[in-house]
Symmetry: C2
DNA sequence: TGCTTTACCTACAAAGAAGTATGTAAAATG
DNA sequence: CATTTTACATACTTCTTTGTAGGTAAAGCA
């Protein structure tokens, strides 16, 4: 059986990657990162607005994925020092660039829906 | 807290999906499906050839992901009734279509490598 | 007849991602 | 001064994915 572990292609933040695709998935993979990025495509949103924009997300996932997206430089977190302290999240240039990729995944999904004759309400 | 579970957007093979992107990830997501698809882009390969083409994959993952890709119609499995029984895997038209998407993910990864100044050997 | 090759296949364990439930601080509001 | 709202934060559990470590069947070869 295959137990060989060869040389990694590259490292990022202590993790080993064998292909650029694996790296991409660290930035936009998982259930919630892409929905968050898509929600921000028209401009900055507050925490509560994101929660409304993404119907099924829990606080835990929203907050942890926002932190993850911040750490990788996909979104910016801006605190406005107003009377009710206000926080807004927006896409960085890198985040905006990822929209093309996410759109490609979205279009393939729509193609699948047609091809596989999956019923979509509305 | 958010315990609301609303209406699903659509169903496929008993699973619930809220966006076309989620559906796409069922077809090409996970660690190994995209490397397998990329390995087949130049033409059909046998099981053993795929194993050589994808250095770090185990038998378990190669075989289970080949089955998954077959089930979703991304690849075809052809058995040649020759003296040493021979099996070849190749992309279906749907599998070929996914190459565009995978390429988009690949290019974004390369962009990240440049942007984040990640060292890549060779 | 025993050994090798090809193409699988499975039980079990470990690791990682996501969900459940609950808590908190600071300011506005009644 | 008690209550509500906003924006988080964490402990714990469950679910899913991946890895480890084996095994098998069929045919050809020595």
């Amino acid at each position: 059986m295959n137990t060989f572990r060869g040389m990694a292609d590259f490292k990022y933040q202590g993790r080993i990657y064998y292909t650029p695709i694996e790296l991409t998935m660290t930035f936009i993979g998982g259930t919630w990162k892409m929905p968050i990025i898509l929600s921000l495509r028209k401009g900055a949103l507050r925490y509560g607005e994101l929660k409304k924009a993404i119907p099924h997300i829990t606080d835990k996932m929203l907050f942890s994925q926002l932190r993850a997206l911040e750490e990788t430089g996909m979104i910016d977190r801006k605190i406005y020092k107003e009377k009710p302290p206000r926080v807004a999240y927006k896409l960085t240039p890198l985040g905006k660039r990822s929209l093309k990729v996410i759109d490609s995944l979205h279009r393939f999904g729509k193609h699948l829906i047609k091809q596989k004759s999956i019923a979509v309400p509305k």
